[in-house]
């Protein structure tokens, strides 16, 4: 069975600095998708970034980028130029491709606080 581990329960970063959130996963599958979701306090969960396992190039979305290391089963999220609005809970998620179920497996989350 697949598992997703986020080893940093809480992190903080100064505004305008860069922070990296870690995520590791365990799977025997070769084709899958990985996601980072952001859940601001008392607000809706939104997709930050997505990575297809078959793509070697790391995904980027503006200030957000990932370091995807397939052999190491690592999928870290880098937030550059951190802003106060980045304060949120961040969840890493895994989805097996081709299962027909499209189920996500979520990590336990990392609470990020951006300090002014």
């Amino acid at each position: 069975a697949q598992t997703v581990t986020q080893s940093q329960p809480e992190m903080s970063v100064q505004e305008a600095e860069t922070v990296t959130l870690s995520c590791t996963y365990d799977t025997s599958e070769n084709n899958y998708y990985l996601f980072w979701y952001k859940q601001p306090p008392s607000r809706q969960m939104i997709l930050v970034i997505r990575q297809e396992a078959y793509k070697q190039q790391n995904a980027t979305e503006n200030r957000f980028s990932v370091n995807f290391q397939k052999a190491a089963k690592s999928f870290s999220l880098k937030i550059s130029d951190s802003q106060l609005g980045d304060t949120a809970m961040y969840f890493c998620a895994f989805m097996k491709q081709g299962s027909g179920t499209y189920k996500y497996i979520f990590g336990t989350g990392t609470r990020l606080k951006v300090l002014a």
Binding site: F35, Q44, T101, Y104, F106
Partner: protein, 114 residues
């Protein structure tokens, strides 16, 4: 993308009663999901709801406790039956966007059982 609404946004219910949570999507989607989330914690999948078929429940969740309806491609309901304080949680629905396997989440329903 998809815009998802949930009703109610929050409720306080008495032990032994039932609550039905509605999830409405602004576009037709095949797969909808229901999650439970304790505040500050991760999401646990309750069931997957496809239109026109019975919901598929995850281990630890049963249809008698969490009946789900999926009458069409834009709507679903989750009922929390015979509630106990342990059912106090946030319940979220999400939909899968087939193009990228992304899920879009509703704002959640915060349930407190007294």
């Amino acid at each position: 993308s998809a815009v998802i609404s949930q009703k109610p946004s929050r409720d306080i219910c008495q032990r032994g009663t039932s609550l039905t949570i509605q999830c409405q999507v602004d576009s037709q989607v095949t797969m909808m999901f229901w999650y439970r989330q304790q505040p500050g914690q991760s999401l646990t999948l309750i069931a997957t709801a496809n239109q026109g078929s019975e919901a598929t429940y995850e281990s630890g969740f049963v249809i008698d406790k969490f009946p789900i309806s999926r009458p069409n491609l834009t709507f679903s309901t989750l009922t929390v039956s015979n509630m106990s304080p342990e059912d106090s949680s946030i319940y979220l629905c999400s939909v899968e966007v087939a193009a990228g396997y992304e899920q879009y989440f509703g704002p959640g329903t915060r349930l407190t059982v007294t």
